[in-house]
Every structure is written in C-alpha cells, then in structure tokens.
C-alpha cells in the first residue's frame, strides 16, 4: 500500500476520436477511492464514451487509463473479464434482460459465473432486491416495471457480484421526482454502506449537487472545471455558470451555427 491507494482510477492525457469527430483531447481525471465522483457535461460531450473507455470496452487513441495503478491497456482477454468483474454498471435504462424475470435478472451474473446452489442464489438475490426495496417484485417481468423500478433492479443486479466500483450512466434521466429521490438515496447509501467507489455520469445538476463528493465538468474534450459541487456553484467561469444554472445562452450558444440571418432571409430574391 503506497500513495497510489488513494486514487482508484487515473486518466492521463486521453485522446479519443470517433470517425472525424474528436471527442476527448488531453483529458485528465482522477477518481478517488470511496467517493462518489460525478462527471457532467452538455449532451454529446461523450460522457458514456468515457465510461466505456474506463472499462476498456473502447480503447483510447492516445493516453493511459490506470485502475488501481495498473495500466488497463496491458490486460489480456482473460484478465480483462476478471477486471470487469470489479465493476458494476447501471445502464441508462437499466438494460434488464427482457426474456428473464426480475429475480433471474439479478441472479444472472451468479448463474453465469458461479456454481452456487439454488438456495444460496435465492438468498443472495433476495437480499440485494431487499436493499433496493423491490423484494416484492421478484416475480415480475421487466416489461411490467416502471422506469425507476427497472433502474433499481438493475442496481441490484450491478451489486450482486459485490463490485468495488459502481458506474451509473445517466441514472436520473426520465424519472419522476419520487423515483429520482429514491435513486439519489440509493447511490449514496450503496457507496457508504458497502465501502465502494461510485462514478456517476449525468447532467442533472440538482441531484449531482446533493450526492457527489467531487464533480468534473467536461466540455470540448477536456475537463472545464472540477471540484466539489459547492466549488462549481461558486465558480466565476462563464461556461460552468451557464451549465450549473441552466442558462439558455452563453458560451454554449443558443443558436446553432448558421449563415447570416438577414442575408438568408432577404437575399433569397436576388438569386
């Protein structure tokens, strides 16, 4: 155990382009152990792409990602599958397997990776479902769940293998206020009770402010600002202020790039 142990994930000078579009350019992010780290940014800044880079579903064009001090680009396929077992991931809409019941969805990783008895699997699954308050929904099907419930089931599934790192991809999108409150509470609770680290990708400023320990705001492929939610709120940067206060116009312009308005409207007759 040395100084590395405080930093769980380190991203150094990361570049990534999809096609001709440069998504990240010189991105640096440090995620500390035991904290809830939020990654925010306007839509289309590649937040989900970042998660995929951290779990090596995508490979950066340049730069390194360290997890626990290990450069993940050096992992072999077998090591990679083992490495991924350290992560639990909650996808945007839960990504529950539609052909399995709620119970079987949560049991899925156990059935695929372990030889536990049915009795033990039942025990584990019901405990995890109870933790998210859905023990009563064990026999339902994913199509019968509301958006918030589906996400809670997905959270139970993400936890079932006892990961060290929980990743949430846009966990608050499209939820009613009550479900939103439930998820916010669960994120914090899971993180502290289980002693894990959480990474949260979102653009819901309100919710992030209540739950995150540290926030990174990404814009134009790099970190535009970072710090605790209070620090971001108090910042003087125009971009950060626009984002944090949801202002329609600012560095991110209200008008999409277009030719001159007057010329386009009035110049039509001349040609």
């Amino acid at each position: 155990m040395n100084a590395v142990s405080d930093n769980l994930i380190e991203i150094r000078d990361l570049d990534y382009a999809r096609g001709r579009r440069q998504i990240f350019k010189g991105l640096n992010i440090t995620i500390r152990r035991g904290e809830v780290t939020a990654i925010m940014g306007p839509s289309g800044t590649g937040k989900t792409t970042l998660l995929r880079l951290i779990t090596r579903q995508l490979i950066p064009d340049h730069g390194l990602v360290f997890v626990d001090g290990i450069d993940i680009s050096t992992l072999s396929t077998a090591e990679l599958y083992e490495f991924r077992e350290r992560f639990g991931m909650l996808f945007q809409n839960g990504a529950l397997l539609t052909d399995l019941s709620v119970f079987e969805n949560v049991a899925f990783p156990l059935r695929e990776h372990t030889n536990l008895s049915n009795r033990l699997i039942r025990h584990i699954v019901l405990t995890k479902l109870h933790a998210v308050g859905l023990r009563g929904a064990a026999d339902m099907w994913p199509s019968e769940l509301s958006g918030g419930m589906a996400r809670r089931v997905a959270l139970a599934r993400a936890m079932v293998m006892d990961p060290d790192i929980l990743i949430y991809d846009e966990p608050f999108v499209g939820l009613d206020p009550i479900s939103m409150g439930v998820i916010v509470r669960l994120v914090r609770q899971m993180n502290d009770a289980l002693g894990i680290s959480s990474i949260l990708v979102s653009h819901d400023v309100e919710e992030i402010s209540t739950v995150a320990d540290r926030t990174y705001l990404i814009s134009d492929g790099k970190v535009a600002a970072s710090g605790s939610p209070e620090e971001l709120h108090a910042t003087s940067s125009d971009l950060v202020r626009q984002f944090m206060h949801g202002m329609a116009d600012g560095p991110v312009a209200f008008h999409y790039d277009a030719p001159n308005y007057e010329e386009q409207l009035l110049g039509r007759d001349e040609d």
Binding site: Q57, A95, T98, P109, A154
Partner: protein
C-alpha cells in the same frame, strides 16, 4: 464515367468486406457451438422451441395449401396425357426436392428469422448486450449461438413436416375431390422416388436452415442500435434470405442432377 467506375469499385470492396466479416462471424459461431451444446443445452432447446415449434402453424397451413394446389394443377396437366394417376409422383417430387425446402425457408425467414433479428437487434439497442459484456458474459455465446443453433436444428424438421402435410393436401384434392385412385397415387410415388431425391431435400433443408439462421442473427447482431435500425434489420433479413435461398437452391439442384 470515372466516378461511376469508382462507385462500382467501392461497392464491390464493401461487398467483399461484408462477406468476409460474415464468414468470420460464422467461424466464431461454430467455434462456440460445442461449448454451448455441451454445457448450455437448455438454451438451445428453448430456441428450437422459439424458431421451430412456434413456426409450426404457418408451416402446416401453407404446406397443406401448396400441396392442394399441386394436386389441382398436377391433375389438370397430367389428365391431358391421360396420366392423372401420376399426380402423387408429381406432387411428391415437387414437394420433397424443391417446394418443401424452398418455401419452408422463405416462411422460416418471415416468421423465425425476423423474430431473431429483431430480438437481437432490440437487445443491442437497449444495451442488453453491452450489459452482458460488462457482467463478463460473452453475448455471442449466451445470445447468438443458441439462437443460431436453434434455427439450424429446427429447419430440417420443419421441411419434413411441410412436405408431409403437403402430400396429404395433394392427396386430399386428387383422391377425395378429383377421384384419382389412392393406390395408384401412393404406389407410383413409392416406386419412382429414390433415396437420392430425399437426400437432396434433406441437404437443401440443412443448407437453407444454416443460411437463414446465420443471416437472421448476423443482421440482428450488426443492426444499427436504434428503432429504425432494428426495423431495417428485419426487412433485410427477409430480403437477403430469400435471395440467398433461391440462389443456393439453383446451385444445389444443378449439382445434384
């Protein structure tokens, strides 16, 4: 002129590339097949049910009517040569060697192939495949291979059922309706039909089953993960399967004769 030539070249290169990728995909499916068959046979059985048992109704209804039409047309044509007793042979050869495998494959593409493509495409569009990968489960092994094998296993049985029901349909029309002698109907067929003819039908059913299942899972797995992309994948499944099956049918027939 040069532009047209370049477009043609690009299309050709793209076709070769896709075809190569399809072969690699098939190779991956085959490599994973033994593991799935021996360790997760339950998954394959489930898919035989989905692709096979659930296609039974459409296969049997269509078989009955195709056979019945063969009975009518066969009787009409053959009676002009005073050979209406050969209706059984006519219908039997047509069903076992050609119409059974071909029409079953086309119906299979429409019923089971589209279901496979849209199911896999939807799983991709709703991140279910990525979620599996994140849980350390290979979606090719868990999702694609069982569906592919299910189709491959189900098709020959569907073809057999189609042909049998079709023969029954033509007997119904020729014997019960048009008064052909039932003994002549079956005996001529029995005498003229060689085992090679049946083998041809079986070979076709296996090849078509493999092709139809492969195209369906390929289109689903490589679909664009949006609602529009999934819709397009199901359409492409039917179109490409139909073309492939008819071309293969010609090649196999020419080769077997």
């Amino acid at each position: 002129m040069l532009a047209a030539f370049r477009d043609l070249y690009i299309t050709f290169v793209q076709f070769v590339r896709t075809f190569g990728a399809l072969q690699l995909f098939l190779f991956r499916l085959i490599m994973h097949s033994p593991g799935v068959i021996f360790r997760r046979f339950g998954l394959v059985v489930g898919q035989v049910y989905n692709s096979g048992a659930l296609s039974l109704v459409i296969i049997m209804v269509c078989g009955l009517f195709v056979g019945a039409v063969l009975g009518l047309q066969g009787f009409d044509t053959l009676s002009r040569f005073n050979a209406e007793d050969s209706v059984g042979t006519f219908a039997g050869f047509a069903l076992i060697k050609e119409l059974g495998p071909v029409i079953t494959a086309l119906l299979f593409a429409g019923r089971a192939g589209t279901a496979l493509a849209s199911e896999i495409g939807l799983m991709k569009a709703t991140d279910q495949l990525s979620a599996m990968e994140m849980m350390g489960v290979n979606p090719i092994r868990r999702v694609v291979v069982p569906r592919f094998l299910g189709g491959v296993i189900a098709m020959p049985f569907l073809v057999a059922i189609f042909s049998v029901v079709g023969l029954f349909g033509s007997q119904l029309v020729a014997v019960s309706l048009l008064g052909v002698d039932i003994g002549a109907f079956w005996q001529q067929l029995q005498q003229t039909l060689a085992s090679e003819d049946v083998y041809e039908g079986i070979l076709k059913s296996v090849v078509f089953g493999g092709a139809a299942s492969l195209i369906a899972v390929w289109e689903g797995y490589n679909s664009i993960p949006t609602a529009e992309g999934v819709g397009r994948a199901t359409t492409r499944t039917v179109v490409i399967t139909a073309i492939t099956v008819l071309i293969f049918n010609f090649i196999i027939t020419a080769w077997m004769l």
